[in-house]
């Protein structure tokens, strides 16, 4: 299984935690790092579990998440 690479833009993130809640594989957890908004950022702690569904990309209201996956995956 190829690993995904997930980047979260620090200045874009507003700390709403939607990504943490909706990821079907619970990839994200809240971290101690602060974003540009001043709240706690999520981090992709369990990135090895990522299946590349890209729901986090679609559901981050600030477009702060970018998912890079090597192999082609079925998004459905």
């Amino acid at each position: 299984m190829d690993m995904a690479k997930i980047t979260i833009d620090k200045m874009g993130c507003k700390g709403c935690d939607i990504c943490i809640a909706i990821c079907p594989k619970k990839v994200f957890v809240k971290s101690k790092k602060r974003n540009g908004y001043g709240s706690n950022m999520p981090e992709a702690q369990n990135v090895k579990d990522c299946i590349g569904c890209r729901l986090c990309e679609r559901l981050c209201p600030d477009g702060a998440i970018d998912v890079e996956v090597e192999a082609i995956r079925d998004e459905n």
């Binding site: 507003k14 709403c16 809640a21 990309e57 679609r58 981050c60 209201p61 477009g63 970018d66 998004e75």
Partner: protein, 270 residues
């Protein structure tokens, strides 16, 4: 940052003015994904009214008109009539479109003019601090309904269908993939496309209107209280029907109708 942002979003204006967890950003991404899929960024102009959702297109790298409260539709109609060969997308809200703009919705839909209207319904007036809107559920406590809203709420999609819109769909921010597809279909459809998006306003509506403060919980609530409609099925009681509600490809679009009339009477344009 999302891969499409570089091409479609004015990143120097970020962060957006939306509150953390606001559903507007989700609609924004769905819209640019649909535009990207169709490859029509240069054929596109966006028009919006006043309200939180009307700020969505102001971040786009496109021609955008941020107009007056409730009047996005007549501005868009004027723009469309001036350049019928191009596409116009309208972003509006439940207050903007159903309250002050109700009359314009009636007539724009009646004409079946080729516009794609995205009504972002958060059941509240968010920008001004949380007053009730025509879609606020009965009994909701808001800044202008401290004893609970007494109005029977208005269903934007039902209204649009009744007055002649030819493509009507409703999705929520918890259905981003279907929403993107609906926006694509609306843009491709030649006629008045009306897409309602149920969205979360965690700050102004939040606890009082939905019963939840956390945006993910509100989205989950939407997922659970909606039911995807298919032709002929019965919607379970208490659930909101979502999905493709109407798709009429037979009714001629407004400008096509005018052109046909003029041509049939020997009037050559230009």
């Amino acid at each position: 940052m999302n891969k499409l942002y570089e091409k479609y979003i004015k990143t120097d204006l970020l962060p957006t003015l939306f509150c953390p967890g606001c559903g507007n950003g989700i609609v924004q991404i769905a819209a640019i994904k649909a535009i990207d899929k169709l490859g029509i960024q240069d054929e596109m102009a966006c028009v919006s009214g006043i309200g939180c959702s009307s700020w969505i297109p102001c971040y786009f790298k496109m021609d955008v008109m941020h107009t007056m409260h409730g009047r996005a539709l007549p501005f868009a109609e004027g723009l469309k009539l001036a350049r019928p060969d191009k596409k116009v997308m309208v972003f509006t809200g439940d207050g903007d479109c159903l309250a002050i703009g109700g009359n314009h919705l009636l007539h724009a839909a009646r004409r079946n003019i080729d516009l794609t209207v995205i009504l972002i319904n958060n059941y509240i007036y968010g920008m001004t601090g949380g007053q009730k809107s025509p879609s606020t559920p009965e009994g909701a406590v808001t800044k202008t309904s401290p004893y609970g809203a007494a109005d029977i709420p208005l269903d934007g999609c039902e209204l649009a269908m009744a007055v002649g819109a030819t493509y009507v769909a409703r999705w929520t921010t918890a259905h981003p993939i279907q929403l993107e597809k609906a926006i694509e279909e609306g843009l491709t459809h030649k006629g008045f496309s009306f897409i309602e998006v149920l969205t979360q306003c965690p700050v102004q509506a939040g606890q009082k209107v939905y019963g939840f403060k956390d945006p993910a919980e509100i989205m989950n609530m939407y997922k659970e209280t909606t039911y995807v409609y298919k032709e002929g099925m019965e919607i379970p009681k208490g659930k909101t029907r979502i999905g493709l509600l109407k798709h009429d490809e037979d009714t001629t679009e407004y400008i096509d109708r005018i052109e046909a009339r003029l041509e049939s009477q020997g009037i050559k344009r230009g």
